[in-house]
Each structure stands twice: as structure tokens, then as C-alpha cells.
Amino acid sequence: MSPGELFRFSARGLSGHGLRTVLSLLGVTIGVAAVVILTALGEGARRYVIDQFASLGTNILIVLPGKTETSGTVGAGGVPNDLTLDDARAVQRSVSAARHVAPVSMGTEQVSFGERRRQVAVLGTTHQYKDARQLLMQRGSFLPEEEMSRGSAVVVLGPKLARELFVEQEPVGQVVRVGGWRMRVIGVLAKQGVKMGMDFDDLAMVPVSTGMQMFNRSSLWRILIQSGSHSDIDLVKEAVRRVLVDRHDEEDFTVITQDSVLSTFTAVLGVLTLVVGAIAAISLTVAGIGIMNVMLVSVSERTREVGLLKALGVGRRQILSVFLTEAALISSLGGLLGLGLGWLAITALVRLYPVFPASPPAWAVWAALVVSLGVGVIFGLLPARRASRLDPVQALAGR
């Protein structure tokens, strides 16, 4: 038999039992659709995290006070040696590859205007923070360019905070109270949303030294450093470390790069996607067993037919390939349908939640297709071998 004939013979076997074929195909469809949808969700989460990081500025290093060999969580609580404005100044002076250096202090305060008040996070920093974090202004200007230790009484509000306090009024130029301090509003940030657990819409920003006095803190919360280019990051990290060790006589701080945090996140999400995809792929095994069962039935039903073919001189290999083709047809058709179903579901999801960039990774699509074809071939093998081994005489007699 030629390949064309072979294919037609198999296809006829399938279409003769419409419902049965559809049912065994459905198993593969469900399995492939599950794999595609779940890996698409995982991939979407990964892309979402990458976007979040990218929108917070690139090539960023963060210096935290405190160092511990044992735990991943650093920077909580206090340290004997403060991270000071002088440290930030020293970094700015001696690390030439650092484009922006922004010291950051942090606390929560009540911001009030007239009768309205709101408890928010207050960030003390300098004008360089805006460029490093890629913040945009809705109106007015960001913190002024001034000496770090000069804390003028000005404040920049997040858009949500501004709306809550001023409603329809123009905030810029007004005087608000931050804690017990009277400060002039000089700008309102553009809408950013929550990024990496920090709500940039509901906060107030003040000059760094004002912040440190306000919270009565001697140590900075963080120093944010942006290196000029991606290739400089390690260089800058090493230089920053050297400058600070020189000043502190010991390494009582931690320097992390945003990239290393990002790569940890994406690695974890990648593994998670793989695991979830694999769990869903178990259903493909079950679908394969279903196909095997149906093929066994089909072989025993067509025993006479096989006997006839054999009597006419058709070889074992050809009989084998007839049934293998049939199984592979079922499973790959199911796989294609599953792909379509998964794609539909994801398109609907993205239509509903445009922020979540769900999309199946290319490897998952290929893997799903190859696996579904493979499932048919592997689970078709046993029934096909049974058919090819039939004795022609016995088979013709229908036994």
C-alpha cells in the first residue's frame, strides 16, 4: 500500500466510528488545552514581573544597611553602623560609573490639608530618584536639585493622595502638614500604580534630610544607584562596596542588583510553570490509555479485515503502520483541537484582563504537539502489534 492509501484506510477506520473517535480525541484535546492554558498563565506571570521591574528603572543597585550570612531577609531593623548621607555623597563622588545616586529614607506619616487627612508612606529622597525610577510628573515639578543635607520644606504627592486631600482643587502651591511639619506642595506624580509592593500613587515624597529629621532616623533606609550601562553593573557594585567598606571598616551593608532579584523571580516562575505544565501533562498519559483501549477494540473488530489484507499479501509492517497511523491521527487531531481551544481561552482572558500578558511560550506549544503525536504512536503500538501478529487463517475465520 502507498502512503496515500494507508492514510485513507486509517481515516476510513476512524470516520466509520464517529462518536468513538471524537471521544478518544477529546481526551487529548483536554490535556493539550490544559497544558497550553497553564503554561500561558505562568509565562504571563513571568512577563508581568519583568514589566514591573523594567518600569522601575533599569541597571539599578540597592544598598541596604545590615548584613547577615544566614538569612535572605536583610534591611529589617537597625544596625550598629548607620548608612548615612555622607556614605551616599562618597559613592556619588568616587564611583564615576554611577549615573544616579539617590539616598532614601522611609516612614509613615499623616498628611493633612485642612480637615482632610491621610496616613501614607513618606519617602525622603533627592531629585535623582525621579530619573533612576523613571517617574513621570502629572503637574508641577519633582524635588529640587539641592545639597542632600539641605532639606527644604517641599513635598511631592502621589496622584491618589493628591485627589484624596484636594479633591478638585489645584494642589501645587498649597501648604500641607506632613506629621507636624508645614510643607509646600510643588508637584504631583503621574499615575503609576502599585509596583513591587509599593503604592506609588498613595505616598508623599520629601527631601531626604527632611525625611530623616521627620522620622528621627540617623540611618538611611536605602541608597539607590543607577549605573550608566548594563555592562557596568558589576563594576559599580564592586566600587560601591569598596567605598563603603573603606568608610565603615567592615561590610555591615548589603548591595543587591535589581537584575539579580529579577532573575531569581523569573527562575522561580519558570520552574513553577514547568511543574504545573507537567502536572497537566499527566492527563495526556490518561488520554493515551484511552486511545490504546479504543484501538484494541478496533483491532478485534477488524480481525476479519486484517485477515483478508494478510491473505492478499500485505506485510506485517504495513498492517502495523495502518493501526499506528490511525492512533497518531486521533492523537494529533486531538492535539490540534486542544491548541485551538487553549488559544481561544487565552485570547478571551487577555481580552478580559489586558494587564496580564498571558501567552503560551513557544516551547510549550511545540512540546504539547509533539507529545500528543507521541502519545498516539506509543499507546498505539501495542494494539498495532497485536493486529500485525494475527494469523491470517485464524483471522479470516474471525477467531
Binding site: 548584613k67 529614607s105 498613595d202 499527566i282
Partner: protein, 398 residues
């Protein structure tokens, strides 16, 4: 009736290969569901034990309001500080047992020319009772006014081993953040808590810690109360007393151990259910497999159906034959799956003792009943097809 059941069973046995394969489909589905939910449940129990090791009647008060920002304690810097005076005021609330004001940071501990950066906790000598954590050797410094500093320290067991090895550490001196402390006690090993190695730490009086870290406020106040049912009244009183002391503003957050436990419980339950559901996709596919096979079986056994109808079996009885067959297949598959699942769980427990795996008995019951239900559902359509067959046509069918 019994005759009918026997008919179903005989059919299952007659098509051995087919039946085994159908069962295997359901079996794999149940195996993956059991396995995944067991891992989920094990993780939940592990987390619960992590929390309850500090006792359940525990409240933690941190500065800063949690509503505005996710992590209260880490940021700090509120206008009204959380002070030792606050913690003493809390002691007077009825039902409150012990109160521990706490500050912590990271610092270098040096002794014998060795140094190690660890967590330094500023606490009071009530720590063993509040955190339910004993002292192995020696004791905490004597109780007294928490504002007074005493240069005495209690080491975590890992820190002690790193600095002193197997030698005696009691009475020796260590330097913490530039100040000298005499070691008066070694804690019992406690292990990790959510990534913090509690054994690699040092405990010093709160007054000393606040001076070393140059702090003027506490990072946390932990308090225990006498009975679980007092939780609400104590929490309310704590809020009232502190709000009053802080000029009418609630610039702190109160977390109860029970509330935290609830949150973790909920999260883990959702994760377990989601993962179980993903595993359940296999179960669905297995059900479709049974449906297919039963459909085929009805077609093959038309003669038989015609025969039993003509000797007086009703449609209902024919339907029952096929339903019983499908349900038996699925339930046996389910039992197979439970066996496999539990087997793999014990293998995991042997191979990776650290990985928490736990199969609650109600999951097993649930899994078997689910497979029974799956079988019945998958059997309905083929059974109805069988019941609808016209006896005469069926007898004549090839």
C-alpha cells in the same frame, strides 16, 4: 438484582485488558490528585506547626498602620514611637500574662578572634515563656526594669557553636556592636522559622540593643494572654490603651497569631485546591475513557441486551447493569489510585524526610467517592443508550 450485578462483573472480567486500562485511566487521575493534595496539606501542617511553636495565645504589635503599606515593622518611623512605656501599660490589661518589648537588627558578634554577622534581638527575660522556647544551659539575665541595661547575653546554639565550638561559653565575653557582653545562657535549638535561622542569633537586654542600634522606638511588642477565648477582648483593650497613649491615633498594627494562622491556612487551602484541580484534569480525561469504552460495550453486547430484555428484564434493570459496570470500573480505579498515591507519598517521605507530605483520611474517602461519582456520570449516557434499545432489533443485531 444480584443477578444483574453478577452480569456486570462478568463483563468486566471477560474483557480483562480493556477493564484494566479503563481503571488505569481513573487510577492515574486519582494518584495525581492524592499526591498533589498530600503535598499541599503537608505544607499547610508544616506552616501551622511553625507558627504554633511560639504558642497560640500571642499578639504582636508593630508601629505603623498596615493599611497604608504592606510591611509595617520594616519601615517604622511614626510620629508617636512605640516605647517601653507602652509595653508596660499593656501589662496592666486584664488577661495579659507577659509582655516582651522587642527591637532587633543585624550586628557582628565577636569572640575568640572569630566574628559572625547575626540577628541581634533586644528583649526581656520573659522570652522563654512568651515564645515557648527554653534555655538549654544557664538562664536569661534576672528580670528587672527593662530600661536598665545589663551587659549580659544569651546565645543561639548555632552561634555558640560557630564562636566557641564545643568549649564552654558560659561566663565568657563576646563583643556585640562594639560593646562587651557576658554570656549567661545558651538557647535550645529551634531551627528555621520562615527562612530566619533562630539558632543563629543573640539575645541581649532591650535597653542595650536600643543603644547599639541607636533606636528610640521598639520594632515590636509581643504579648501572651491567659486563654484563647480572651483574644478579642485583649485585642480590643490593646488597641484602646495604645490609641489613648498615642494621642487618639491608631498608628500601630496588632496581629494575632490566630489571624496570621488563618491567612496562611486560607492561602494554602486555595493553593492545594488549585493544584488538585489541575491534577483533576486527568480524572476528567479518565472519565471520558470510561464513557468511550462503555459506549463501545453497549454496541458490542446488543444481542445480550436483547436477550435479557426478552426474558423479562426491564429498561431500568438494563440501565443498572451498565451503570454498575461503569461505577465498578471507576471505583476500582480510584482504589488503585489511592494505593499508588499513598505508596508514592511514603516513598517521598523515605527519600526526602524534610518534605512534608500528609494524606488526611478524609481525602482518601473523598477520592474514592469522587471516582464512584465519575463512573456513574460516565456510565449514564451509555446505560441510557442500552436501555433504549428495542429488544427485537437488539436480538437481530450482528
Amino acid at each position: 438484582m444480584w443477578e444483574l450485578v453478577k452480569l456486570s462483573l462478568r463483563a468486566i472480567i471477560a474483557h480483562r485488558m480493556r477493564s484494566v486500562l479503563s481503571m488505569l485511566g481513573i487510577g492515574i487521575g486519582i494518584t495525581s490528585v492524592i499526591l498533589l493534595t498530600s503535598i499541599g496539606e503537608g505544607t499547610r501542617l508544616y506552616l501551622v506547626s511553625q507558627f504554633t511553636q511560639f504558642g497560640t495565645n500571642l499578639l504582636a504589635i508593630n508601629p505603623g498602620k498596615a493599611e497604608t503599606i504592606g510591611i509595617p515593622g520594616a519601615l517604622g518611623g511614626t510620629t508617636r514611637k512605640l516605647t517601653i512605656d507602652d509595653s508596660e501599660a499593656l501589662e496592666r490589661i486584664p488577661g495579659v500574662e507577659k509582655v516582651v518589648p522587642m527591637a532587633f537588627g543585624t550586628g557582628r558578634v565577636e569572640a575568640n578572634g572569630l566574628g559572625r554577622s547575626v540577628f541581634v534581638y533586644g528583649v526581656t527575660s520573659d522570652v522563654p515563656e512568651v515564645w515557648q522556647w527554653g534555655v538549654r544551659i544557664g538562664s536569661f539575665w534576672p528580670a528587672g526594669d527593662p530600661r536598665r541595661s545589663t551587659s549580659q547575653a544569651v546565645l543561639g546554639p548555632k552561634l555558640k557553636n560557630e564562636l566557641f565550638g564545643s568549649a564552654n561559653a558560659l561566663g565568657e565575653f563576646v563583643r556585640i556592636g562594639g560593646a562587651r557582653f557576658r554570656v549567661v545562657g545558651i538557647m535550645e535549638p529551634k531551627g528555621q522559622f520562615l527562612g530566619f535561622d533562630l539558632d543563629d542569633s543573640v539575645y541581649i537586654p532591650i535597653a542595650n540593643a536600643m543603644r547599639i542600634f541607636n533606636m528610640d522606638e521598639l520594632i515590636e511588642i509581643d504579648l501572651t494572654f491567659t486563654h484563647a477565648r480572651l483574644l478579642e477582648s485583649v485585642e480590643r483593650e490593646v488597641r484602646r490603651v495604645l490609641t489613648e497613649r498615642h494621642g487618639g491615633r491608631e498608628d500601630f498594627s496588632v496581629t494575632s497569631q490566630a489571624a496570621m494562622l488563618d491567612v496562611f491556612d486560607n492561602i494554602m487551602n486555595i493553593v492545594t485546591m488549585a493544584v488538585g484541580a489541575i491534577g483533576g484534569v486527568s480524572l476528567l480525561v479518565g472519565a471520558i475513557g470510561i464513557l468511550t469504552m462503555m459506549w463501545i460495550a453497549v454496541g458490542e453486547r446488543q444481542n445480550e441486551i436483547g436477550l435479557i430484555r426478552s426474558i423479562g428484564a426491564t429498561r431500568k434493570q438494563v440501565q443498572l447493569v451498565f451503570l454498575v459496570e461503569a461505577a465498578t470500573l471507576a471505583t476500582l480505579g480510584g482504589l488503585l489510585g489511592v494505593g499508588f498515591g499513598k505508596g508514592i507519598c511514603s516513598l517521598i517521605r523515605l527519600a526526602v524526610p524534610g518534605l512534608p507530605v500528609h494524606t488526611p483520611p478524609e481525602y482518601v474517602v473523598l477520592a474514592v467517592s469522587v471516582s464512584l461519582a465519575v463512573g456513574l456520570l460516565a456510565g449514564v449516557t451509555p446505560a441510557r443508550r442500552a436501555a433504549r434499545l428495542d429488544p427485537i432489533e437488539a436480538l437481530r443485531a450482528e
